[in-house]
Symmetry: C2
Subunit: 598 residues, 2 copies
């Protein structure tokens, strides 16, 4: 099976033309993000991803992780060495804030780097992602003492972090959470708590890559209110650090087992037991009962990252299918190529995959660029506009990119024919790995309800209409440009009208009928993602046309960007009207049946 | 995980109202298929499927098959006992012709029974399916001596059969086939041949369920023409039978290995080596160089059966998701139900699954009923019309039902949330098992090219237009009926107009531009399947309304049939216009890119 080869040309194009890196460089916060530096970082990351992480992807899938009776978890052969190297080369800390060893590059750039880790080895990449999430939570909400003790080793990757949310009865519904924290003051550990409870689905909850594992655990204080307003966040390390930073006693927590999963086999998914003996020692992070708010700090970052997993798996699956289609000879083709890439239906599958992957990447990078503007733009009004746009886009990036990855990964198997069904080929792993991405960090249904309820209805449609105005202006300009761009503008205008109808319905009828709005939420998410993806590909096509006009050398690549945008318009945007109709008219039957008649 | 429970009410409804069992009973060939008998057969099959085969489904998935060095293959625990019982109860022979121990029931009924085996345990069901395929090939094309020796034990299931087509360089393209057969006449075995070559992807190619395995092998005779016109079919048994039917010497063939696959783990997929020593002894089936024609005898039957696998997996996946959604409590729902089935988006997923499953079943059973008419109608003109319709429908049943199963199986995991990703839950197996169904017995692309080229263009659109006229007449009647049926008629008319446009384009522009037609073939297959599925559900809704008017007791079930048909119309038929646009306008970009620019 071919190793991952980072699509550097596409990534650089998307960073510049869709994410707007040039504009970001004009901001004081990012003035060091010079083109040469960015290109060098991306090239180095590409080398590490392709050379070190990618070869371990199938190894990790086959070998999985091994849990042993004492609660230890051994990772697959080569993972420990790769993680050491990842850390030694500074990749672990790279996206962290500069005072913690990070490079201070825009999120846009670290997003591109993260895409590579995820394409090369999704299971491996999760450990860093979770750890940097813990860093952010502690940095925002932790006490000075917790920051001093935990941030440096976590950012560096000497220690790793986890998020302990889910319990058997509390998955999507954290209100049902039961883990408990009781205040304790025995002097030795300061004002601490004793934590008890069982947590499940803890990614990288136990492993052998790092000296210590720092668990962020949601639990209830005595007398806490019911529901989500009674949840607090605690930091609970595997080993209790001594004052000098060295590791002290083992805390009262244990990995009770690891799950046997469909995919991401190399990533341990732990069942964690806290406090089976005297109660695990932990410290409060943030205010009492504000645990959920502390978690929300990381939510946009985490959801952008999981959306990016959809991009990354799509890219890798596409690469493998393309390589096979270029090499496999079978039957006489209708287009002249001797290999099966010459069969029109194989071409259709490959272009569908390529177009979806590029649209997903465009959407994720666009959201990443807006994240940078929201954080660091010099104009406060622009910061606010960008933040509103990011908040609107995040559930779409998460939901649409991961749902899209299911189709792309499945098509990659299909391009291989019977060989695709054989595990050694490697294509099947992408189907298996992709399957979790629409579920964890909030299912697609939860993203869609967030989109419809919190992001569209709550502000009366202000953010979504502002986005639609931008799209309308771009579409009109494209249509006026003529040539190859005009049909893109026209297709976009048609799809945008459908989105406007659906938005109007959600703000009117849907606001008065919440169950109907909820029934149409996922179709609305698909519609919004399709229009936004088509829009950004069209903007990319416009940029490609400009570069061609300016005489840029690689016309093949630039023309392909335009053709791919047109393919997306002809094959995906064309469904916008039907998606609108499902939003507007689909709820009646969804809500019609009695439970017993399913 | 819940065991499979056959949806007998849905199956009986579909047999009667969509397959037209009542009409078939009026034919002399099927006058014994009394309602009581059919119901009794289906109830017994349901019991066997749910009680014996279903509990082995997860066992087989976990255990797989074990290949040992001598080329033996051990099946999973319990499979041998279940197969003995399956055979002893007469289920193996049931669909065979009566003179071989079959029951002489319509294909429509044996299709319903087969659906149950496939839902309960897809891997198990393949052994019978392949064996009965071999029975048909030998019955149609074998010599009297071959028939006498091989048909009784194969039909009964004492011996099992296989199809040996694929070679590493010859998958979809059988023209590239290299296995060889050389005439030999040493007296002892009559006019036989020595077969040499390697075959791959041989389903149930080696196992421990039966005394003997009879391989049907495609190979070339000396001096045979190149390509598919030089392929002959040979019968090559694992053990050479003696004159008295007892088993003699081991033939020169060996199972060199079994594949490590994404799914259907309990079904051995063998690499078969023929003639490593002196050449495997085999006998010609049919005329020299007519091997492909002999295979085509079984093609409609085999493709209908694989399409049915899509139905069966969809049904099973839906059942499991429904059971979980009725039981799992998580969050406050908007519709009153305490369990997650009350969340509108979960309802939407369940209804999407239910509607697709019913539409797939309707299409498969409709094709099965037409198969019976084509074989046994007393009117020759009707036989011809039915055969033309079957030939048109088969690639749609195969392609559309199996593609649909991918989405349904994936949605079943999604309904489970994180638990769905854990293998022990059982939902993930359906995703893995389903993945092969769009590939084997001809990929979706091959079905679509068959549909467009051989079934639509070759007869100038006669068969597809005859179908469209039936749909148009039904749609007009439904629209005129008013009430709940009118919107079904209107939706059907809209979708039918799109199908008519696409058909016209294929017969006109597409006939002159074969690469463009091929680029639109799969979207056309989806369009045809969607319209045909929506049509048959609408006919079912009409029948349900009639039964309600007649005062039939189970109004909940009958009303749900109507609501489900409307759901399909509102969520699936609504995409017909976009699919038409993809057929008409999608080829330009599909064919635009140079190979290097992918």
């Amino acid at each position: 099976m071919p190793e991952y080869s980072a699509p550097l040309q596409d990534i650089l194009f998307t960073i510049e033309e869709i994410g707007g890196l040039g504009e970001l460089r004009a901001l004081p916060a990012f003035e060091d993000a010079a083109p040469d530096l960015v290109a060098a970082v991306l090239e180095e990351a590409a080398r590490f991803a392709g050379g070190v992480l990618s070869p371990l992807n199938a190894v990790g899938d086959r070998h999985g992780v091994r849990w042993s009776d004492g609660g230890e978890v051994a990772t697959a052969p080569g993972f420990r060495e790769a993680f050491d190297q990842f850390r030694a080369n500074g990749w672990h800390a790279m996206p962290a804030r500069p005072e913690l060893g990070g490079q201070g590059l825009p999120v846009l750039v670290s997003t591109a780097v993260a895409e590579m880790w995820k394409s090369a080895n999704l299971a491996f990449s999760l450990c860093q992602m979770l750890t940097l999430g813990a860093v952010e939570a502690i940095a925002h909400h932790g006490s000075a003492a917790l920051k001093a003790t935990y941030l440096p080793p976590l950012a560096e990757g000497r220690w790793t972090g986890t998020m302990n949310l889910t319990e058997p009865q509390a998955g999507s519904d954290l209100a049902a959470l039961r883990a408990r924290a009781v205040p304790a003051h025995d002097g030795k550990h300061g004002d601490h708590y004793r934590i008890t409870g069982t947590k499940i689905f803890i990614t990288w909850g136990e492993h052998d890559l790092a000296e210590n594992i720092v668990h962020l655990v949601l639990a209830r204080l005595p007398g806490a209110p019911e529901g989500v307003r009674g949840i607090s966040l605690f930091l609970v390390p595997k080993f209790l650090p001594n004052a000098d930073g060295s590791l002290g006693a083992r805390n009262d927590l244990v990995c009770a087992s690891v799950e046997h999963k469909l995919g991401i086999h190399a990533s341990p998914t732990a069942v964690m037991g806290f406090g089976d003996r005297e109660g695990a020692i932990g410290w409060l992070v943030g205010e009492p009962h504000q645990g959920l708010a502390c978690m929300f700090t990381m939510m946009n970052h985490a959801r952008l990252n999981v959306g990016l997993e959809g991009v990354a798996i799509s890219e890798r699956a596409y690469q493998q299918a393309r390589a096979y289609a270029r090499e496999r000879v079978q039957g006489r083709t209708l287009t002249g190529s001797p290999a099966i890439i010459g069969h029109p239906d194989v071409r259709r599958m490959l272009l569908d995959m390529k177009a979806r992957t590029e649209a997903q990447r465009a959407l994720a990078y666009f959201a990443a660029g807006e994240t940078d503007r929201a954080a660091a733009h010099t104009d406060a009004a622009q910061r606010a506009r960008s933040q509103a746009l990011v908040d609107l886009l995040i559930p779409i990036v998460k939901g649409w990119c991961t749902e899209g990855a299911q189709g792309v990964a499945g098509t990659a198997v299909q391009v291989h024919g019977g060989v695709g069904f054989i595990e050694e080929t490697g294509a099947a792993q992408f189907v298996r790995d992709a399957r979790i991405t629409t579920i964890y960090e909030g299912t697609t249904g939860i993203q869609a309800n967030d989109l419809v309820g919190r992001k569209v209805q709550r502000d009366g449609g202000a953010a979504v209409r502002a986005l639609q105005e931008r799209i309308a202006a771009d579409a009109a300009r494209l249509r006026a440009a003529g040539g190859e761009l005009a049909p893109l503008g026209a297709a976009l205008e048609g799809a945008l009208a459908a989105l406007a109808d659906a938005t109007g319905w959600l703000l009117g009828h849907g606001a008065a009928h919440p169950a109907e709005a909820a029934a149409g939420a996922v179709p609305f998410l698909h519609l919004t993602g399709t229009v936004a993806g088509g829009w950004l590909l069209a903007r990319g096509a416009e940029a490609a046309a400009r570069r061609i006009a300016e005489g840029e050398a690689d016309r093949g690549f630039l023309s392909a960007r335009i053709a791919t945008a047109r393919h997306f318009a002809a094959h995906e945007l064309v469904h916008a009207g039907a998606l609108r109709d499902v939003v507007l008219h689909g709820a009646a039957t969804t809500l019609a049946l009695a439970d017993a008649d399913f």
